[in-house]
Symmetry: C2
Subunit: 532 residues, 2 copies
Amino acid sequence: MSKEVIMKLKKETMSELVKNEAGRWVPVEVNGQTQIPFKGVAAYKPRGKKFGPAVSSCADYPADGNKQVDSLRTALVKAGLRDGLCISTHHHFRNGDLLANQIFDIAKELGVKDLVWFPSASFPCHEHLIPYLEDGTIHHIEGSMNGPLGRFASEGKMKGVGILRSHGGRYQAVQDGEVKIDIAVIGAACADSFGNANGLYGSSATGLLGFALADSQYAEKVIVVTDNRVPFPCVPWQIQGNYVDFTVQVDKLGDPEKIISGTTRITKSPDRLYMAELTARFCEAAGIIKDGFSFQTGAGGTSLAVSEYFREIMQEKGIKARFARGGSNKYLVSMLEEGLIDYILDGQTFDLEGVRSMSENPSHVWTSPFTSYNYHGKGNFAGMVDVVILGATEIDLNFNANVVTHSDGYLLHGIGGWQNCLFSKTVILPVPLFRDRIPVIVDEVTTLCGPGELIDVVVTERGIAINPLRKDLLDAVKNSGLPVKTIQELKEMADQICGVPEKPVFDDQIIALVKWVDGTVLDVVRKVGEKP
Amino acid sequence: MSKEVIMKLKKETMSELVKNEAGRWVPVEVNGQTQIPFKGVAAYKPRGKKFGPAVSSCADYPADGNKQVDSLRTALVKAGLRDGLCISTHHHFRNGDLLANQIFDIAKELGVKDLVWFPSASFPCHEHLIPYLEDGTIHHIEGSMNGPLGRFASEGKMKGVGILRSHGGRYQAVQDGEVKIDIAVIGAACADSFGNANGLYGSSATGLLGFALADSQYAEKVIVVTDNRVPFPCVPWQIQGNYVDFTVQVDKLGDPEKIISGTTRITKSPDRLYMAELTARFCEAAGIIKDGFSFQTGAGGTSLAVSEYFREIMQEKGIKARFARGGSNKYLVSMLEEGLIDYILDGQTFDLEGVRSMSENPSHVWTSPFTSYNYHGKGNFAGMVDVVILGATEIDLNFNANVVTHSDGYLLHGIGGWQNCLFSKTVILPVPLFRDRIPVIVDEVTTLCGPGELIDVVVTERGIAINPLRKDLLDAVKNSGLPVKTIQELKEMADQICGVPEKPVFDDQIIALVKWVDGTVLDVVRKVGEKP
């Protein structure tokens, strides 16, 4: 493309962009839908009514409650699968999902075009769908694109623009009617023919099904697919059959080894263990670890190590946590069983111990993006958590953070519950100073996912930076002997070791939006360009 | 009133009435709202969208999740209590409720007028509200009026027209936006300051809170009141705090002895025991009691006896039920614990054993009017129950039944889940042939609550009448030796004993509507007139 053409395109594109409150240029319309620019962390006030799908009547459903049809294809056809519909799936099967690909295989066979795929997340196993993105079976993906699909989008090859939302933002978008789901397909490890379903029992056990909750409540048509049908009633019903139109039995929903780890493992890297230790020591020094406190660590190797350090401190001091937020894993479960935690409030189970505990222990409670993360509710659980430990691909000098793109500009991760967790009372990001000789702390994040005002502490193997907005934390750890630095100091250390990294080159084409928790547009992701 | 005036009034009133599919004259408008006449049991097809209350934002709720205010009065004022609003309550406290009266005491103090009270049921303890119905604080009651309030309405003294709905019909009306709840006040035996609540623990324990589910989901403002506040999280959350605006702590919500029986008791009347035995023998002969079957009996003395006869038959034959529907009681709980029932699917607990079992046993499952009874869902549980045992105040020769008025014309009972249960595969009404020398089987029911086509069997102490529509049942028990009669024969027996009873006299004034499960108007209740 000539420079003139690019400039012309740039001008045309820019004319549709506005600068949002975070200083990012964002479009006012995408995929034919009006978009609201980010107004500030808590500034946008919604005005509408919650979405209402069509009222149903029992007169249109089998009197004996048996909604079983012979195949997924039949269910999709009966649900009215046709051009342009929005089809939702959930990601509890993670990279072991065998269901989503089948839906679009069927759509392709039926010659259906321009579908919107609305997964709660997509994984490398969904690379299978790239031909359907190319041939127009799928118009675009609204949902996180982990790995190959993200790379495909970053190359500018997706017809529509991807929309990235947090778990809570996804619930919000469905509840508020921003995304109208035509057909929800919900895979469940255990279900009855009425459609009551859970993720607790069976070879495709996922623990829970919360990521499909909004889909069941708000989609026009709901299909429950199981490889483990039980007689009515399937108890507990994490998904209520009263929302379900059709049920389908299949041989195999997922690949158990890829759904869930048989075992989760703590990092063995000395640097990461040190970061974890620093994080825990920081929490102790800041007075966060006290009787009745609450925490969310996550399931990465470093996070698991943080939990273990928490355990040591709690045991030593005789402290009990009121609750921990999952993703659950065997470490958290053992803390629950030892009585160090009163409750696990869980959003997803990361290993088999998590599944077992949830199925046995009433204090291991399943939650949903509605209870935990929906910003357009009357409060949610995220704000009540004392401390949350999260990751990031990049953090900038204003504590803004990125979780979706790498420093090379490629979109390779989803947002997950990350944005939602930023509302915790203290947000700590333990990150290495650099990865593959690319500094993590940068002048300005490639993609803005989390406004710096919500990010309190950055812990690296070379020191801890505290957001100047948190004077209370700065004061609390003043005499703790912890290696507190400014974020500028941390950046300089990284730059000295790695040199100043090359910046990625972008085309103007917007390939994805990053939504804030309230549905406004926080930032865009652009097509990665060729280096000159 | 002169005869001329009465005739004129009759004409004026009649001009607004239409004859519905059940042959009853019903008004097309009541309380300023358009009404749809009953179209047939499953004939009316809803066309709208589910109601959506206003979208909220976490920005408007306390960041730490603490929604506690200092009093119910403060909560009501903050919720915007003013003239003409619709205030909802639930009836899990039954005749021990100390909360509903307080709401209207506050309304009276504040000088608020013309409120609509939308309880899931009202009880004799709410007689306290009669002065507020008289002075215009409350305009009318939408909900069942057990006892004194029903009598008050029957005397033509309520300003508006009462609307009687089944439990499922109440959920349907709220979901469909027929009733828009402005403020829901939910009393909970156990709750946290965020609003998560259950009925399981505490001195006002009610077991569950399902009757308040629709209120929490669809009301514009929701207040949770508890006398047993626990630290977040209150687990399990039968009511989700994410729907709640304000929480209030009080000393005492209910009078435990009147909320729940310490003990439920089987009838000792020989006639009723015989009816119960006949009912059970009928079910056995008809092949209903078989492995994996399901039943709902209820908590009346006769119903409890039916359960006990079921137990004997099941033990004898080595039969296990897949599930029983509650109202639960100690008899049902013991069957669950003995392994005679896989699950109790419970809508309300009638005694302390029910509460205990529900709090301990994951197979004792709490349900709601949504899962069990909502006719405007994608199916519900009621249709899946093999046999249900219900009562009636009157049954006519077409098997139509009445549960709300007595033969003297007074409105003294609510519909409860009765209409919803009529969708069970077999509906049996064990009723005495007469009560206080008033025959139960009549030419035409005073008030039509259940169309005869849904009522399969009437069991009396003098014989069993099977609806001619159920040829299968007639055939099944042909050679059983059971005393099968026609319903005409039963009526003749009663008339011979009691003589033909005096008919009640009614004024034209319509004092209440009886809704069908789909929101259409099945019948009206009129003011009881003076006998000439």
